[in-house]
C-alpha cells in the first residue's frame, strides 16, 4: 500500500467524516465549521490529484467566500450557540433509509460500469492553458460561458442588493 493511497484514504475519511458532522451537528456554528473542514478536505483531494489550481480556487471561493458568507448569515439570523431545532425523527429515519438505498444503488451502477481509462494519456494542468482556453473563442474555448457567468453574477448581485436593501426602509 503506497503512501499516496494512504493519503487518499485519510483525505477521503476526513472529507466524509467532516461532511457527516456538518449535516448532523446540533449547533449551527459547529456545522459551519465542519463544512469548512470538509471543503478544505476536498481542496486537499484536488492537491492529491495534482490539480493545484482547482484546489486554490476551491479554497479561495469556498473557504474564503461562501463559508464566510454563510457564517455571516448565521450571525445575522441567530445566536451562534443556539441549539438548532431537531430534525423530525420520522423524516430522519426515512431520509436515512432513502439516502442509503440511493447511495447503494448509485454506487452499484458506477461500480458495474467500471470506468476504465481507455487512453492512459498523462494529464497535466497548466494554468496558462486555463487562461488561454477561458478567453478563447475556438473549440474548447470558454469565452461565452465566461461572459454568461459574469452576467449571472451581475444579476445575482443586483438581486441580492434589492432584497437586502429592504433593511433601510424598515
Amino acid at each position: 500500500m503506497g503512501a499516496s493511497k494512504i493519503i487518499f484514504y485519510i483525505i477521503s475519511t476526513f472529507i466524509l467524516g467532516t461532511g457527516i458532522l456538518a449535516v448532523t451537528a446540533t449547533k449551527i456554528f459547529r456545522a459551519a465549521i465542519w463544512l469548512l473542514f470538509s471543503l478544505i478536505g476536498i481542496a486537499a483531494l484536488y492537491f492529491w490529484m495534482q490539480l493545484e489550481f482547482i484546489a486554490a480556487v476551491q479554497i479561495i471561493v469556498y473557504v474564503g467566500g461562501i463559508v464566510v458568507l454563510i457564517i455571516f448569515s448565521i450571525f445575522l439570523t441567530q445566536k451562534s450557540g443556539d441549539e438548532m431545532p431537531k430534525p423530525l425523527q420520522q423524516r430522519k429515519l426515512f431520509s436515512l433509509f432513502a439516502v442509503f438505498f440511493a447511495f447503494a444503488f448509485t454506487y452499484l451502477l458506477i461500480h458495474q460500469y467500471g470506468f476504465y481509462s481507455s487512453n492512459p494519456q498523462p494529464f497535466e494542468l497548466k494554468i496558462s492553458d486555463i487562461g488561454m482556453q477561458m478567453l478563447s473563442t475556438t473549440e474548447h474555448g470558454f469565452i461565452l460561458p465566461f461572459e454568461v457567468v459574469s452576467m449571472l453574477l451581475l444579476a445575482a448581485m443586483i438581486g441580492c442588493i434589492v432584497i437586502a436593501m429592504k433593511a433601510k426602509t424598515e
Partner: protein, 105 residues
Amino acid sequence: MINEITLTDILFVSTALFFIGVYGFFTRRNMITMLMSIELILNSVNINFVAFNKYLFPQHLDGIFFTIFIITIAAAEAAVAIAIIINLYRSHRSIDVEDASELKY
C-alpha cells in the same frame, strides 16, 4: 502511484459526499444548513468532474472548466439564497424551514 487508486474509489468518495449532502438537505431544518448541504452536493459533483477529466479524458479541460463554473455559480446561488433567507427571517423571525410552509395544498 496514483494508479493504485482507481477512479471508482474517488467516485465512491464523491458519491458518498453527494448523498451526505442530500441527507443533510432532507433533515436539516435550518435553512442555512440546508444551503450548506447544497454546497456539499455541488462539491461532490466537482470532484466527479475533476476526476473524470483527469482519469478518463485528459485531452481537454472540459471537466475542469465545468468545475470552475460550478463553483462560481454556487457562489452566486448561495448569495441570492442567503439574501432571500435573510429577508424571510425579517418577516418570519425564524429560519426554520418548517415555519415556511404557509403556502400549501
